[in-house]
Subunit: 139 residues, 2 copies
């Protein structure tokens, strides 16, 4: 029989805030569920999995917009494994780019801290001097 879930029950079951559920509905990540005559939402138990799907995809760095796309792929009968794989591959490229950007920043910062003994007055601090001095961005 598996009784339908009320919003709060779904939220607890999925480990998210009630408001988050309504937010996802507004964003099109959760389909509008049937309503009781009183207006109360009635979620099928499967909704828990859908929310967990969203949370897991989020933890892999997908944005809600992208997750919406993944969820649509899941429903589309023409979707092949291939398309899904492609999304994941794109996301890897994304993540790698972010890592590369951060590494450049790390390197630049390291160069600065290495050049700074930590002694002496701020007037000669290589870090401040760097920030104060005109130069083509090293990044």
């Amino acid at each position: 029989m598996q009784a339908p879930l009320k919003t709060g029950e779904l939220a607890r079951a999925a480990g998210v805030n009630v408001e988050t559920i309504r937010f996802y509905e507004r964003k099109g990540l959760l389909p509008e569920p049937p309503r009781r005559s009183s207006g109360y939402r009635e979620y099928p138990i499967g909704a828990v999995r859908r929310i967990r799907f969203i949370q897991r995809a989020k933890s892999l760095g997908f944005t809600l917009r992208e997750i919406k796309g993944l969820l649509e792929l899941r429903v589309d009968p023409d979707t092949t494994c291939d398309v899904v794989r492609e999304r994941a591959t794109e996301k890897i490229a994304d993540v790698r780019q972010k890592i590369a950007d951060l590494r450049k920043i790390e390197k630049a910062l390291r160069k600065l801290t290495d050049s700074c003994s930590g002694n002496g007055p701020k007037e000669t601090c290589p870090i401040l001097v760097h920030l104060e001095t005109f130069q083509e961005s090293s990044l």
Copy 2:
């Protein structure tokens, strides 16, 4: 004599939007400049360097809040090189943490795409299956 700059001139000289200058002023990153009797702001030429400082610090991953702190350090007579170095070191730790997080994500995504041949129907796609299946977060 070095004539003071009007807001638009400062913006052009520093390569930012006029609105950005007013925004920085509201945020306390730029001190309120003297005004002409008409209300027009009159910036000393040094303001250009201050804005460039902000832009460079931004490119090193500092937030505006942190940059405000750096600018205050610069003015504080008690600041030593040491304190500045510490800020940069903290930021490196920050950046490294972000890189580590992204690497975990990359690894998880790579594991998924590696496990997916790209052939076959979505029903058996290891990526979707992973997202759909309950499991302790691997991240």
